[in-house]
Protein backbone atom coordinates (compact mmCIF):
# COMPACT_ATOMS: atom_id res chain seq x y z
CA UNK A 1 0.00 0.00 0.00
CA UNK A 2 1.51 3.27 -1.09
CA UNK A 3 -0.47 5.68 1.03
CA UNK A 4 -3.00 4.25 3.45
CA UNK A 5 -6.65 5.05 3.01
CA UNK A 6 -8.11 7.60 5.42
CA UNK A 7 -11.84 7.44 6.05
CA UNK A 8 -14.06 10.10 7.57
CA UNK A 9 -17.35 9.34 9.33
CA UNK A 10 -19.95 8.27 6.79
CA UNK A 11 -17.44 7.08 4.20
CA UNK A 12 -17.98 3.59 2.90
CA UNK A 13 -15.16 1.07 2.99
CA UNK A 14 -14.29 0.24 -0.63
CA UNK A 15 -14.76 -3.45 -1.30
CA UNK A 16 -11.33 -3.83 -2.84
CA UNK A 17 -9.73 -2.93 0.51
CA UNK A 18 -11.42 -5.75 2.39
CA UNK A 19 -9.43 -8.93 3.05
CA UNK A 20 -10.58 -11.64 0.70
CA UNK A 21 -10.36 -14.46 3.22
CA UNK A 22 -13.50 -16.50 2.90
CA UNK A 23 -12.72 -19.19 5.47
CA UNK A 24 -13.98 -17.34 8.53
CA UNK A 25 -16.35 -14.39 8.95
CA UNK A 26 -15.03 -10.86 8.66
CA UNK A 27 -14.55 -9.13 12.02
CA UNK A 28 -15.12 -5.43 12.45
CA UNK A 29 -12.85 -3.43 14.70
CA UNK A 30 -13.65 -0.11 16.35
CA UNK A 31 -14.82 2.77 14.22
CA UNK A 32 -16.74 0.73 11.66
CA UNK A 33 -20.35 -0.30 11.44
CA UNK A 34 -22.39 -2.49 9.14
CA UNK A 35 -25.28 -0.79 7.39
CA UNK A 36 -27.75 -3.12 5.77
CA UNK A 37 -29.18 -0.71 3.24
CA UNK A 38 -27.42 -0.48 -0.10
CA UNK A 39 -26.70 3.10 -1.04
CA UNK A 40 -29.28 4.41 -3.51
CA UNK A 41 -26.63 5.29 -6.05
CA UNK A 42 -24.89 1.94 -5.89
CA UNK A 43 -24.79 0.31 -9.28
CA UNK A 44 -24.16 -3.26 -8.24
CA UNK A 45 -27.33 -4.49 -6.66
CA UNK A 46 -25.84 -7.68 -5.22
CA UNK A 47 -24.25 -6.06 -2.18
CA UNK A 48 -26.95 -5.58 0.42
CA UNK A 49 -24.52 -4.44 3.11
CA UNK A 50 -22.03 -1.65 3.26
CA UNK A 51 -19.34 -0.99 5.83
CA UNK A 52 -19.29 2.62 6.90
CA UNK A 53 -16.83 4.45 9.11
CA UNK A 54 -18.06 6.22 12.23
CA UNK A 55 -14.75 7.86 13.13
CA UNK A 56 -11.92 9.41 11.22
CA UNK A 57 -9.04 7.02 10.87
CA UNK A 58 -6.67 4.99 8.77
CA UNK A 59 -8.16 1.78 7.44
CA UNK A 60 -6.16 -1.28 8.43
CA UNK A 61 -6.83 -4.87 7.55
CA UNK A 62 -5.40 -8.08 8.86
CA UNK A 63 -5.65 -10.79 6.25
CA UNK A 64 -4.64 -13.60 8.58
CA UNK A 65 -7.26 -12.88 11.23
CA UNK A 66 -9.70 -11.47 8.67
CA UNK A 67 -10.33 -8.19 10.48
CA UNK A 68 -10.89 -4.61 9.37
CA UNK A 69 -10.50 -1.68 11.74
CA UNK A 70 -9.90 2.02 11.81
CA UNK A 71 -6.89 3.52 13.52
CA UNK A 72 -8.25 6.72 14.96
CA UNK A 73 -6.54 9.65 16.66
CA UNK A 74 -4.29 8.38 19.46
CA UNK A 75 -5.35 10.89 22.13
CA UNK A 76 -9.00 9.90 22.29
CA UNK A 77 -10.72 8.83 25.49
CA UNK A 78 -10.51 5.25 26.65
CA UNK A 79 -13.82 3.34 26.54
CA UNK A 80 -13.72 0.12 28.58
CA UNK A 81 -13.74 -3.10 26.58
CA UNK A 82 -13.83 -6.62 28.02
CA UNK A 83 -10.39 -8.18 28.66
CA UNK A 84 -8.46 -4.92 28.45
CA UNK A 85 -5.71 -4.46 31.02
CA UNK A 86 -6.01 -1.16 32.82
CA UNK A 87 -4.49 0.75 35.71
CA UNK A 88 -7.23 1.93 38.04
CA UNK A 89 -7.06 4.13 41.11
CA UNK A 90 -9.17 3.35 44.17
CA UNK A 91 -11.62 6.16 44.91
CA UNK A 92 -13.38 4.65 47.90
CA UNK A 93 -14.28 1.28 49.25
CA UNK A 94 -17.64 -0.16 50.19
CA UNK A 95 -18.73 -3.45 51.78
CA UNK A 96 -18.37 -5.59 48.66
CA UNK A 97 -16.50 -3.43 46.19
CA UNK A 98 -13.67 -1.03 45.66
CA UNK A 99 -14.86 1.89 43.55
CA UNK A 100 -12.12 2.71 41.06
CA UNK A 101 -11.39 5.57 38.72
CA UNK A 102 -10.44 4.48 35.21
CA UNK A 103 -10.76 7.71 33.23
CA UNK A 104 -11.51 11.18 34.58
CA UNK A 105 -15.13 12.36 34.71
CA UNK A 106 -16.69 8.97 34.19
CA UNK A 107 -18.59 6.69 36.53
CA UNK A 108 -16.51 4.56 38.86
CA UNK A 109 -15.71 1.00 37.91
CA UNK A 110 -16.32 -1.74 40.46
CA UNK A 111 -13.62 -4.10 41.69
CA UNK A 112 -14.76 -6.87 44.01
CA UNK A 113 -13.11 -6.91 47.44
CA UNK A 114 -12.40 -10.60 46.92
CA UNK A 115 -11.35 -10.59 43.27
CA UNK A 116 -7.64 -10.81 44.03
CA UNK A 117 -5.41 -13.84 43.86
CA UNK A 118 -5.82 -15.95 46.99
CA UNK A 119 -8.15 -13.45 48.61
CA UNK A 120 -10.57 -14.56 51.27
CA UNK A 121 -12.60 -12.64 53.84
CA UNK A 122 -9.55 -12.57 56.10
CA UNK A 123 -6.70 -12.18 53.62
CA UNK A 124 -8.16 -9.64 51.21
CA UNK A 125 -5.93 -6.68 50.41
CA UNK A 126 -6.73 -3.52 52.35
CA UNK A 127 -6.60 -0.88 49.66
CA UNK A 128 -7.08 2.72 50.54
CA UNK A 129 -8.05 5.80 48.62
CA UNK A 130 -5.47 6.62 45.98
CA UNK A 131 -3.96 3.15 45.76
CA UNK A 132 -3.38 1.70 42.32
CA UNK A 133 -4.39 -1.66 40.93
CA UNK A 134 -3.52 -3.37 37.69
CA UNK A 135 -6.76 -5.01 36.63
CA UNK A 136 -8.59 -6.63 33.76
CA UNK A 137 -12.01 -5.49 32.58
CA UNK A 138 -14.35 -8.36 33.48
CA UNK A 139 -17.61 -7.02 32.09
CA UNK A 140 -18.98 -3.77 30.80
CA UNK A 141 -22.59 -4.60 31.56
CA UNK A 142 -25.60 -4.67 29.33
CA UNK A 143 -27.54 -1.68 28.13
CA UNK A 144 -27.11 2.01 28.68
CA UNK A 145 -25.22 3.37 31.64
CA UNK A 146 -24.29 -0.04 33.02
CA UNK A 147 -21.45 -0.40 35.49
CA UNK A 148 -18.01 -1.59 34.48
CA UNK A 149 -16.62 -4.43 36.56
CA UNK A 150 -12.92 -5.10 37.00
CA UNK A 151 -11.06 -8.09 38.33
CA UNK A 152 -7.50 -8.91 39.33
CA UNK A 153 -7.96 -12.65 39.11
CA UNK A 154 -9.10 -15.13 36.50
CA UNK A 155 -12.43 -16.37 37.92
CA UNK A 156 -11.96 -19.81 36.34
CA UNK A 157 -8.52 -20.63 37.77
CA UNK A 158 -8.24 -18.36 40.79
CA UNK A 159 -4.82 -17.17 39.60
CA UNK A 160 -3.91 -13.65 38.61
CA UNK A 161 -3.70 -14.21 34.89
CA UNK A 162 -1.95 -12.72 32.97
CA UNK A 163 0.70 -12.33 35.66
CA UNK A 164 1.14 -9.10 37.52
CA UNK A 165 -2.48 -8.24 38.15
CA UNK A 166 -3.19 -6.86 41.58
CA UNK A 167 -2.22 -3.87 43.70
CA UNK A 168 0.71 -1.80 42.43
CA UNK A 169 2.97 -0.79 45.29
CA UNK A 170 5.51 1.99 45.08
CA UNK A 171 6.49 3.40 41.71
CA UNK A 172 4.81 6.23 39.88
CA UNK A 173 2.12 6.60 37.23
CA UNK A 174 2.58 8.61 34.05
CA UNK A 175 -0.16 9.59 31.61
CA UNK A 176 0.32 8.75 27.94
CA UNK A 177 -2.16 8.80 25.08
CA UNK A 178 -4.41 5.77 24.64
CA UNK A 179 -2.84 5.12 21.26
CA UNK A 180 0.63 5.00 22.82
CA UNK A 181 -0.60 2.67 25.57
CA UNK A 182 -2.01 0.27 22.98
CA UNK A 183 1.29 0.42 21.09
CA UNK A 184 3.32 -0.31 24.22
CA UNK A 185 1.10 -3.28 25.06
CA UNK A 186 1.37 -4.67 21.55
CA UNK A 187 5.13 -4.20 21.52
CA UNK A 188 5.53 -6.00 24.84
CA UNK A 189 3.33 -8.91 23.86
CA UNK A 190 5.45 -9.70 20.81
CA UNK A 191 9.12 -10.59 21.09
CA UNK A 192 11.64 -7.79 21.18
CA UNK A 193 13.05 -8.16 17.65
CA UNK A 194 9.54 -8.22 16.23
CA UNK A 195 8.33 -5.16 18.08
CA UNK A 196 10.84 -2.98 16.32
CA UNK A 197 9.44 -3.85 12.97
CA UNK A 198 5.79 -3.80 14.03
CA UNK A 199 5.39 -0.69 16.08
CA UNK A 200 8.59 1.29 15.72
CA UNK A 201 9.07 1.32 19.47
CA UNK A 202 12.63 0.84 20.63
CA UNK A 203 12.43 3.11 23.64
CA UNK A 204 11.71 0.35 26.16
CA UNK A 205 14.38 -2.08 24.99
CA UNK A 206 16.85 0.80 24.83
CA UNK A 207 16.00 1.90 28.38
CA UNK A 208 16.22 -1.71 29.53
CA UNK A 209 19.73 -2.06 28.12
CA UNK A 210 20.94 1.25 29.55
CA UNK A 211 19.42 0.82 33.00
CA UNK A 212 20.42 -2.80 33.47
CA UNK A 213 23.38 -1.77 35.61
CA UNK A 214 21.00 0.02 37.99
CA UNK A 215 18.93 -3.09 38.53
CA UNK A 216 16.38 -2.67 35.76
CA UNK A 217 12.82 -1.47 36.17
CA UNK A 218 9.27 -2.74 36.34
CA UNK A 219 6.58 -1.38 34.08
CA UNK A 220 2.82 -1.91 33.81
CA UNK A 221 0.83 -0.43 30.93
CA UNK A 222 -2.91 0.23 31.18
CA UNK A 223 -5.02 0.61 28.09
CA UNK A 224 -6.62 3.66 29.70
CA UNK A 225 -3.47 5.65 28.96
CA UNK A 226 -1.55 5.07 32.19
CA UNK A 227 1.94 3.70 32.61
CA UNK A 228 3.22 2.62 36.00
CA UNK A 229 6.97 2.52 36.48
CA UNK A 230 8.93 1.22 39.43
CA UNK A 231 12.71 1.25 39.82
CA UNK A 232 12.95 0.34 43.49
CA UNK A 233 16.03 -1.83 42.77
CA UNK A 234 18.04 1.19 41.71
CA UNK A 235 18.73 2.32 45.29
CA UNK A 236 19.61 5.97 45.55
CA UNK A 237 18.86 6.87 41.94
CA UNK A 238 15.44 5.15 41.97
CA UNK A 239 13.49 8.40 41.76
CA UNK A 240 15.72 9.80 39.05
CA UNK A 241 15.44 6.65 36.95
CA UNK A 242 11.64 6.57 37.31
CA UNK A 243 11.32 10.16 36.17
CA UNK A 244 13.71 9.56 33.28
CA UNK A 245 11.72 6.59 32.00
CA UNK A 246 8.46 8.50 32.33
CA UNK A 247 9.86 11.48 30.46
CA UNK A 248 11.18 9.25 27.67
CA UNK A 249 7.80 7.58 27.18
CA UNK A 250 5.86 10.85 27.29
CA UNK A 251 8.16 12.60 24.85
CA UNK A 252 8.15 9.69 22.40
CA UNK A 253 4.35 9.83 22.59
CA UNK A 254 3.96 13.59 22.19
CA UNK A 255 6.56 14.15 19.51
CA UNK A 256 6.04 10.86 17.66
CA UNK A 257 9.77 10.10 17.55
CA UNK A 258 11.07 7.50 15.13
CA UNK A 259 13.34 4.62 16.21
CA UNK A 260 16.65 6.46 15.74
CA UNK A 261 15.34 9.59 17.47
CA UNK A 262 14.07 7.45 20.33
CA UNK A 263 17.56 6.01 20.88
CA UNK A 264 19.13 9.46 20.75
CA UNK A 265 16.54 10.88 23.13
CA UNK A 266 17.02 8.07 25.67
CA UNK A 267 20.78 8.66 25.67
CA UNK A 268 20.26 12.41 26.06
CA UNK A 269 17.80 12.14 28.96
CA UNK A 270 19.87 9.59 30.84
CA UNK A 271 22.94 11.79 30.47
CA UNK A 272 21.01 14.88 31.58
CA UNK A 273 19.76 13.07 34.65
CA UNK A 274 23.33 11.81 35.31
CA UNK A 275 22.18 8.20 35.35
CA UNK A 276 24.75 6.89 32.90
CA UNK A 277 27.98 8.54 31.95
Amino acid sequence: MASPLVLLPGDEVPTRHLPSNKSNPLKLGPGLRLLSQPSSTSQNTQSQHVLAATQAGILTTDVKRNTVSLLSFPNRRYIPTVNDLIIAQIHHSSVDYFHCMVTPHTAHALLGQLSFEGASKKTRPMLRQGDLVYARVLSIGLGAGAEVELTCVNPATGKSEPGGLGPLNGGMVFDVSTGMAARLLRASSSSSEQSESIDGLVVLSELGKKLESLGGFEIAVGRNGKVWIDCSNAGESAVKATIAIGRCLQTVDEKGLGPTDQKKFVTRILREMKLVS
Binding site: G10, N44, I79, A144
Partner: protein, 249 residues
Protein backbone atom coordinates in the same frame (compact mmCIF):
# COMPACT_ATOMS: atom_id res chain seq x y z
CA UNK B 1 -7.54 33.48 -2.05
CA UNK B 2 -6.01 32.35 1.21
CA UNK B 3 -7.69 29.28 2.60
CA UNK B 4 -8.57 28.68 6.24
CA UNK B 5 -6.00 27.20 8.57
CA UNK B 6 -6.64 24.55 11.17
CA UNK B 7 -4.77 22.24 13.48
CA UNK B 8 -5.92 19.23 15.44
CA UNK B 9 -5.26 17.89 18.94
CA UNK B 10 -3.72 21.09 20.26
CA UNK B 11 -4.84 20.49 23.84
CA UNK B 12 -3.29 17.49 25.54
CA UNK B 13 -5.80 17.11 28.36
CA UNK B 14 -8.97 17.26 26.28
CA UNK B 15 -10.08 14.13 24.46
CA UNK B 16 -10.28 15.98 21.20
CA UNK B 17 -9.44 19.53 20.23
CA UNK B 18 -8.98 21.70 17.19
CA UNK B 19 -8.26 25.28 16.28
CA UNK B 20 -9.60 26.95 13.20
CA UNK B 21 -8.89 30.33 11.61
CA UNK B 22 -11.12 31.83 8.96
CA UNK B 23 -9.13 34.18 6.70
CA UNK B 24 -11.98 36.41 5.49
CA UNK B 25 -13.71 37.12 8.80
CA UNK B 26 -10.52 36.85 10.85
CA UNK B 27 -12.11 34.75 13.60
CA UNK B 28 -9.95 32.23 15.38
CA UNK B 29 -11.69 29.50 17.37
CA UNK B 30 -10.25 26.96 19.77
CA UNK B 31 -12.53 24.00 20.39
CA UNK B 32 -12.34 21.04 22.72
CA UNK B 33 -14.45 17.92 22.99
CA UNK B 34 -14.76 15.63 25.98
CA UNK B 35 -16.71 12.47 25.41
CA UNK B 36 -18.12 10.34 26.88
CA UNK B 37 -18.20 12.01 30.30
CA UNK B 38 -20.59 11.89 33.21
CA UNK B 39 -22.81 14.94 33.41
CA UNK B 40 -23.26 15.60 37.10
CA UNK B 41 -26.69 16.13 38.58
CA UNK B 42 -28.59 15.85 35.31
CA UNK B 43 -29.80 12.31 35.52
CA UNK B 44 -33.39 13.42 34.95
CA UNK B 45 -32.53 15.53 31.92
CA UNK B 46 -30.57 12.80 30.16
CA UNK B 47 -32.13 10.67 27.51
CA UNK B 48 -32.12 7.05 28.68
CA UNK B 49 -30.64 5.47 25.58
CA UNK B 50 -28.59 8.22 23.99
CA UNK B 51 -25.75 10.59 24.58
CA UNK B 52 -26.50 14.20 25.47
CA UNK B 53 -24.71 16.84 23.45
CA UNK B 54 -23.73 20.04 25.23
CA UNK B 55 -22.20 23.04 23.48
CA UNK B 56 -20.59 25.97 25.26
CA UNK B 57 -19.34 29.09 23.51
CA UNK B 58 -16.97 31.42 25.30
CA UNK B 59 -16.36 34.85 23.81
CA UNK B 60 -12.81 36.07 24.18
CA UNK B 61 -13.49 39.27 26.06
CA UNK B 62 -16.75 38.89 27.95
CA UNK B 63 -19.10 36.35 29.46
CA UNK B 64 -21.47 34.37 27.30
CA UNK B 65 -24.83 36.03 26.83
CA UNK B 66 -28.04 35.66 24.89
CA UNK B 67 -26.35 35.57 21.49
CA UNK B 68 -24.04 32.76 22.52
CA UNK B 69 -26.94 30.76 24.00
CA UNK B 70 -28.78 31.12 20.70
CA UNK B 71 -25.87 29.85 18.62
CA UNK B 72 -25.20 27.06 21.11
CA UNK B 73 -28.76 25.91 20.48
CA UNK B 74 -28.29 25.91 16.70
CA UNK B 75 -25.05 23.92 16.88
CA UNK B 76 -26.40 21.49 19.46
CA UNK B 77 -29.51 20.67 17.42
CA UNK B 78 -27.42 20.03 14.35
CA UNK B 79 -24.74 17.91 16.03
CA UNK B 80 -27.27 15.83 17.95
CA UNK B 81 -28.45 14.43 14.63
CA UNK B 82 -24.93 13.49 13.52
CA UNK B 83 -23.41 12.05 16.69
CA UNK B 84 -24.15 8.36 17.13
CA UNK B 85 -25.17 8.53 20.77
CA UNK B 86 -26.00 4.85 21.01
CA UNK B 87 -22.51 3.53 20.39
CA UNK B 88 -20.83 1.63 23.20
CA UNK B 89 -19.94 3.83 26.15
CA UNK B 90 -22.03 6.80 25.03
CA UNK B 91 -25.64 6.30 26.22
CA UNK B 92 -26.51 8.44 29.26
CA UNK B 93 -23.16 10.17 29.00
CA UNK B 94 -22.42 13.61 27.72
CA UNK B 95 -20.54 14.91 24.71
CA UNK B 96 -19.28 18.28 25.87
CA UNK B 97 -18.07 20.70 23.22
CA UNK B 98 -16.42 23.94 24.34
CA UNK B 99 -15.66 26.59 21.75
CA UNK B 100 -13.57 29.59 22.72
CA UNK B 101 -13.32 32.60 20.44
CA UNK B 102 -9.64 33.41 20.80
CA UNK B 103 -9.09 35.82 17.94
CA UNK B 104 -10.85 38.22 15.63
CA UNK B 105 -13.26 41.04 16.25
CA UNK B 106 -15.69 40.95 19.14
CA UNK B 107 -19.37 40.48 18.50
CA UNK B 108 -21.31 43.13 20.37
CA UNK B 109 -24.68 42.41 21.86
CA UNK B 110 -27.32 42.42 19.15
CA UNK B 111 -24.87 41.90 16.29
CA UNK B 112 -25.38 39.07 13.87
CA UNK B 113 -23.82 35.79 14.90
CA UNK B 114 -24.04 34.31 11.44
CA UNK B 115 -20.56 35.48 10.42
CA UNK B 116 -19.12 33.39 13.23
CA UNK B 117 -21.29 30.33 12.80
CA UNK B 118 -19.32 28.59 9.97
CA UNK B 119 -16.06 28.88 11.93
CA UNK B 120 -17.74 27.49 15.04
CA UNK B 121 -19.22 24.58 13.10
CA UNK B 122 -15.94 23.71 11.40
CA UNK B 123 -14.08 23.84 14.70
CA UNK B 124 -16.59 21.56 16.40
CA UNK B 125 -16.42 19.08 13.52
CA UNK B 126 -12.62 18.93 13.62
CA UNK B 127 -12.62 18.62 17.41
CA UNK B 128 -15.21 15.82 17.29
CA UNK B 129 -13.15 13.98 14.68
CA UNK B 130 -10.00 14.35 16.75
CA UNK B 131 -11.81 13.03 19.83
CA UNK B 132 -12.96 9.98 17.82
CA UNK B 133 -16.61 10.60 18.69
CA UNK B 134 -18.71 8.29 16.50
CA UNK B 135 -20.69 10.20 13.90
CA UNK B 136 -22.89 9.12 11.04
CA UNK B 137 -21.40 11.62 8.57
CA UNK B 138 -19.37 14.80 8.37
CA UNK B 139 -20.44 18.19 7.09
CA UNK B 140 -19.13 21.45 5.70
CA UNK B 141 -20.54 24.94 5.96
CA UNK B 142 -20.37 28.20 4.06
CA UNK B 143 -21.29 31.82 4.66
CA UNK B 144 -22.89 33.67 1.77
CA UNK B 145 -24.01 37.30 1.69
CA UNK B 146 -26.31 39.05 -0.76
CA UNK B 147 -25.45 42.71 -1.24
CA UNK B 148 -27.98 45.54 -1.66
CA UNK B 149 -27.50 45.40 -5.43
CA UNK B 150 -28.40 41.71 -5.36
CA UNK B 151 -24.85 40.47 -5.97
CA UNK B 152 -23.96 37.22 -4.28
CA UNK B 153 -20.77 37.38 -2.25
CA UNK B 154 -19.30 34.07 -1.14
CA UNK B 155 -17.12 34.14 1.99
CA UNK B 156 -17.85 37.82 2.73
CA UNK B 157 -15.62 39.89 4.99
CA UNK B 158 -17.10 41.46 8.12
CA UNK B 159 -17.57 44.80 6.35
CA UNK B 160 -19.33 43.18 3.42
CA UNK B 161 -21.51 41.16 5.78
CA UNK B 162 -22.52 44.28 7.67
CA UNK B 163 -23.55 46.06 4.48
CA UNK B 164 -25.35 43.07 3.01
CA UNK B 165 -29.09 42.93 2.63
CA UNK B 166 -29.20 39.28 3.65
CA UNK B 167 -26.80 36.75 5.19
CA UNK B 168 -27.03 33.00 4.89
CA UNK B 169 -25.24 30.11 6.56
CA UNK B 170 -25.75 26.70 5.01
CA UNK B 171 -24.34 23.35 6.03
CA UNK B 172 -24.22 20.27 3.84
CA UNK B 173 -23.53 16.75 5.01
CA UNK B 174 -20.88 14.63 3.32
CA UNK B 175 -23.76 12.78 1.67
CA UNK B 176 -25.18 15.96 0.17
CA UNK B 177 -28.08 16.68 2.53
CA UNK B 178 -28.84 20.23 3.53
CA UNK B 179 -28.28 20.09 7.29
CA UNK B 180 -28.64 23.67 8.36
CA UNK B 181 -30.02 26.85 6.90
CA UNK B 182 -29.84 30.05 8.90
CA UNK B 183 -30.73 33.22 7.04
CA UNK B 184 -31.37 36.77 8.07
CA UNK B 185 -32.38 39.90 6.18
CA UNK B 186 -34.73 40.41 3.26
CA UNK B 187 -34.56 38.04 0.31
CA UNK B 188 -36.89 36.12 -1.96
CA UNK B 189 -36.90 32.45 -2.81
CA UNK B 190 -35.07 32.83 -6.13
CA UNK B 191 -32.22 34.59 -4.36
CA UNK B 192 -32.13 31.84 -1.77
CA UNK B 193 -31.95 29.23 -4.51
CA UNK B 194 -28.87 30.90 -6.05
CA UNK B 195 -27.40 31.28 -2.56
CA UNK B 196 -27.95 27.58 -1.97
CA UNK B 197 -26.16 26.68 -5.21
CA UNK B 198 -23.30 29.00 -4.40
CA UNK B 199 -22.93 27.55 -0.89
CA UNK B 200 -23.08 24.03 -2.27
CA UNK B 201 -20.26 24.81 -4.65
CA UNK B 202 -18.20 26.30 -1.79
CA UNK B 203 -18.77 23.27 0.43
CA UNK B 204 -18.74 20.34 -1.90
CA UNK B 205 -17.47 21.63 -5.24
CA UNK B 206 -19.29 21.64 -8.53
CA UNK B 207 -22.07 19.09 -8.82
CA UNK B 208 -20.61 15.94 -10.27
CA UNK B 209 -22.85 13.26 -11.63
CA UNK B 210 -23.37 10.89 -8.70
CA UNK B 211 -20.87 8.08 -8.89
CA UNK B 212 -20.26 4.94 -6.94
CA UNK B 213 -18.59 5.02 -3.48
CA UNK B 214 -14.85 5.25 -3.84
CA UNK B 215 -14.71 7.02 -7.18
CA UNK B 216 -16.78 9.87 -5.79
CA UNK B 217 -14.44 10.15 -2.83
CA UNK B 218 -11.41 10.71 -5.00
CA UNK B 219 -13.26 13.29 -7.04
CA UNK B 220 -14.09 15.24 -3.87
CA UNK B 221 -10.44 15.39 -2.94
CA UNK B 222 -9.92 18.81 -4.47
CA UNK B 223 -8.79 21.16 -1.76
CA UNK B 224 -10.65 24.27 -2.82
CA UNK B 225 -13.87 23.17 -1.14
CA UNK B 226 -14.65 23.29 2.55
CA UNK B 227 -15.16 19.54 2.59
CA UNK B 228 -11.81 18.93 0.91
CA UNK B 229 -10.20 21.18 3.50
CA UNK B 230 -11.58 19.12 6.42
CA UNK B 231 -10.48 15.89 4.76
CA UNK B 232 -7.02 17.21 4.04
CA UNK B 233 -6.52 18.46 7.60
CA UNK B 234 -7.55 15.13 9.08
CA UNK B 235 -5.44 13.15 6.62
CA UNK B 236 -2.33 15.21 7.28
CA UNK B 237 -2.71 14.80 11.00
CA UNK B 238 -3.32 11.06 10.83
CA UNK B 239 -0.35 10.54 8.52
CA UNK B 240 1.84 12.37 11.02
CA UNK B 241 0.49 10.45 14.02
CA UNK B 242 0.90 7.11 12.33
CA UNK B 243 4.20 7.83 10.59
CA UNK B 244 5.76 4.97 12.57
CA UNK B 245 3.26 2.57 11.07
CA UNK B 246 3.20 3.91 7.53
CA UNK B 247 6.99 4.04 7.23
CA UNK B 248 7.41 0.39 8.10
CA UNK B 249 4.91 -0.81 5.50
Amino acid sequence: MVGPTASLSNLSRADGSASFKCPTTGYKILGSVNAPVELPGRRDALKPEEATVEVFIKPGNTTAGVGERYVEGIIRTMLQKLILGRERGFPRRGVVITLAIVGGGAIARGDSYLTLLPSLLHTSLLALLSGAVPMSMTYSTALVAVSKSNVIISNPTLVEAKAASSLHVLAFSSKGHLLLNESQGRFDFDTWKTVQQCAHALCRGVDLPEVDGDIAMEAQGDSGTAEGFVRETVENHLYRDYAWKIDTE
